[in-house]
Symmetry: D3
Subunit: 250 residues, 6 copies
């Protein structure tokens, strides 16, 4: 909100903290592509490859752990490239992903290195997948620690960037309520291409296309006098746990 017309020394920076290799594509691919399209920098901190919990097809095909991790890494790198973002893998092990001080400390380093203006991560609850709440807890804790001059480590302290929670797979069961509807129409094709990098989960391509259509309908229904919106508006939904800072009510 405070990025005025100053000679843009550094572009704005977005940090996405996710549990598994595919999460950033399904849940925030549009937001990432929009930021990249504006010339901003997007960094994805991917805590695990989703090698145990989200690779059922590969396990059924008889593949081994390291092989599966390699596949998921490659898919995720392709998807990130398609969106215009950089992805960093933590390889922390999934199912369960366990929150530890060490992992949180590594996230603090990423916060300080990337100096994010915006943070995206999983919401607080998900009764179907405990890795998502674990990622949320570490993302939030690291964000607070990275602000403290007394917390040791490389890099300068950060300001308190706004946080957005992206939509879980079963929103009503996870206490998810759309608080922000982001218009991703103009980058929709990019998101679709990124989804198609995730070959192992082809059944989700249409699922998340339908979701984008539905959130787009909802966007239009809440958009006030919205003459300018296209018939087929595509959208992503987010929660916002901290207050929005505004110069205007709109």
């Amino acid at each position: 909100m405070t990025h005025g017309n100053a000679p843009a020394a550094t572009p704005r920076s977005t940090l996405v903290v996710t549990a598994h290799a595919g999460d950033f594509v399904w849940r925030a691919g549009g937001a990432i592509a929009l930021a990249a399209a504006r010339g901003e920098k997007v960094t994805i901190a991917c805590l695990t490859f989703g090698e145990r919990g989200e690779s059922a097809k590969a396990w059924r095909e008889g593949r081994k752990l390291e092989e599966i991790k390699a596949i998921r890494r490659e898919e995720a790198e392709q998807a990130a490239a398609a969106l215009g973002a950089e992805v960093r893998f933590f390889d922390a092990g999934d199912y369960p992903l366990t929150a530890t001080p060490e992992l949180t400390d590594r996230l603090v380093e990423v916060y300080r290195a990337t100096q994010p203006d915006v943070v995206l991560t999983h919401p607080v609850e998900d009764p179907y997948n405990g890795d998502h709440p674990a990622a949320n807890r570490m993302a939030l804790e690291a964000r607070v620690l990275a602000q403290a001059i007394g917390y040791p480590g490389p890099g300068g302290i950060i300001g308190a960037p706004p946080v957005f929670y992206f939509e879980p797979h079963q929103p009503e069961m996870s206490g998810f309520r759309p608080e922000v509807l982001l218009d991703i129409t103009e980058v929709w094709e990019t998101k679709r291409r990124a989804m198609e990098c995730l070959a192992a989960q082809q059944h989700l391509w249409d699922y998340y296309t339908d979701l984008a259509v539905r959130r787009g309908v909802q966007l239009k229904r809440n958009a006030g006098p919205n003459l300018g919106l296209p018939h087929r508006t595509m959208a992503e939904a987010f929660m916002r746990p901290f207050p929005q800072i505004a110069k205007e009510l709109a």
Copy 2:
């Protein structure tokens, strides 16, 4: 959000629905002054004068009902003028303000006449003053009715404008959580002047000045890298019951 660079046929319109004559000053004076300063139109639908419930001083001085209503009307008109807004009085009777279909219908007319891009009103709960929730219910119901082509009455139907709830006097007891912090620093002097039009409630001038300071501190604490913010940032807090429509996460 959709007010682009089109040749501005009509300026943006804000509608404020309040229970009593002073509410719009204490709770939304900054938001109103900001909109007016941008050249927008602000209409205040003031359902009662607060003649019974918020005029204790006048009653103790032995004034009569009509006299009190006249005083409060004049004060409110002066304050509205100071902020750059127009105020319409419904004279519906306070303490209690009772929600009726007739009153709601009159609000539908105002919605259709003003075609608001933004609506401000009281939040859902207030255990210390039942008139505020009554105003909330009517403001929300009229907003829905005014969108329906089948609902009779003059004026064209409206889109679904975003709604903001302003801060009640006892926020923690009324389920109020600051979801939007509006920077009102640049219009602060205007808001203070408007407050000073309400002579009968002088003890609240400093109270709401302190609140603006406090919300300003909170704004800065949530503003991310906020180098540009002045030392003494003033703010107003709002809730947002419907999803925000966004082109960018910030």
Copy 3:
């Protein structure tokens, strides 16, 4: 739960209380068709025709109020017939539907006449349509009154039938959480035919087909070892405000 193997003097009875003419089709058509297919009696108490709030197309075509009501009545009767249910119109006027003691009293009569074993109605909240909560309040109040021997009127008192809330159009914004997922696969074609009776709202046919698919996916994900479920399971979601009575945990 208590409908054992007794010589079935009276078939089980389901009462559906809805605000507008189309609601029972979109939201509970599957549940109704299932009950009818089991030889049970289903009665729909339809409080309004949705003539003002849910007939935008007809108004834009320039039709008059009575004409619109006649159209909606006919469509609803056809849809009810397709599902195997009887519909009773209260013609109470929509947008707004106002809860009154008289209307509630008429509902008490229906409760006592139909002696329902199950009640379906709207959930408690809907920020996009105040008629739905109004229908909810009257349906619940009449259910309590109809149980009291001291409440006057024709017909015998009723037991306390279980209540189910069907899914609103924007579930996450209305506090809706799927507490019961009803498998409607075997009556899906019937529901689709009933939806197609509502010619004026053709854009919703596919919307509610997609919803049934989605709820079906969710059903399978919560169904335990579910070898018997078909690939394309269709479902409807409900809330259950009163405790379930059970002979077995399953």
Copy 4:
């Protein structure tokens, strides 16, 4: 719900995960006895003996830790036998019971070995005993892990069995709301006998008898036309955190 008329190769299986040796008797003895009476298999995973936190009498008598554990084990085995269930002790240490990956992993093994159709455990909150929420967290996490083909260990993966939370000692203080009332009248004498195996807690025998009467009264009040229910219906209350899968609304 999907246990049709197929040639019943394997009987249905219930898994009960509890913190202390007595919990399964007081809170779910009726549900266990009902399942056993239907010829189903019930396995109790008992994480601790309750040796520190729930054996005050023995400590006051001057007994030693190992002695107390032996007493509680024997009592619990007798109670389980009375109910028709098998109990497995994890001896993980109580007061506090600490959730660990190792303990969760052992639970995954039990899930896969027992292939439960139904899971019973403690609810999420209990401000009077932190061991109960700890057991809840591990029971839920293990249930998710056991479904993943990528999670290592013996036994085949499981489906997603429905979960029921049994009633804590202070329900209103623990966010407990009766969502399912189970009629245990026909196995009441069995539950009473199992309670009487817990000699050290004789003061609770009548307490939980009274509770069963009270939940029975509530069952009848919510049972609709309930002509068939006996005067003295006994019941147990449960919460249901995941959606119920149903073929019929009842």
Copy 5:
């Protein structure tokens, strides 16, 4: 709380606002008896006789409306006398009790006439009886109106007395959480005698005795080092919707 050792001009005053004739006995008989035993004045504003909704036995015996009202009045007067309180009947009609400005205005008069130091009434929710929430709403609204010097009517304005909600019949289903446990051991026999005045509801005598025992157990479990409490402590539970004012944390 501020009733120090001043020469007690006026004794403290308690106002109890209830929906039906029996409510004050079952739910607050102990609190009333305690206040009376301290020499305080207790006034019960009884909005209806419970003639339709809580007199099933009399209706089944074929009695007429006026006869039933007379019976319930007499019983309630006897019970009030036993407790040491005065009861005023509003005869507003139950099942449903409808909140109206007129009835609220009559309550304002009672507030101003009795100048209560403490107010007791029903809690906000009760899905089994809509009269209770209606009484709650009027009791709270009248309490606010009676404080306003601008609200017309006889009697002086009141301060803002603390409010307590007494326990409903199904606490877990009504959002009731015991926030205050009142020790009524010393007046228990008085409460029991008052209950026995309600001959028509003999089945509730033991029910509410058991509840008092149970709440007493809970009191002791929350009482800190409680050496002085008798073995059989009896208690009533209340909620407290407004902040407690204290001179000491205890």
Copy 6:
């Protein structure tokens, strides 16, 4: 509540469990001073010095960790002395403060050594500082463990003392609702002196003075007929997670 007129063998005891060196002053200095003024014993268990997360000024001045800890210790000791309390430092390391069984066990020892009649600690949530919820969890868990005769360690078991949560820095964002307003007017000067011992955080002196004024206004607004209260009443706000035990409703 049970501290009658018995020959006061032991004075009442208050235990305050806080995360950082300054917390007890800003949030509970009044409560502590009041207890001390009554001749009671107050022990502060201070888990960390706030050396990393709450000493930004010292870090900016280039001081070292041990130096900062020494400064904060000295300030806190002076403030505790000013209030009349004893402070014990755990030096557990802040930012993050991590809950461990060892630290909890040390707290159990303090509980048993001090035998508290009242416990004060942080509330459950604080999205701006994770150390506060960590302190809350350990304080609550240790309180339960210290009651169990089977939990090993020196000192006798304790009763279940009432718990109060003090006010966090951003109450509305932390789910904080004032449930108890404590009148600290008579010890206000003492609290101010204690605040002034914390030289490094001078900007908070006026902040917390203003808060005390504001909570005092709220106290008066909820105090009923409050003729005796001074114009400038100062107050602190608390939550109460367990039921209040009372001999009188007031």
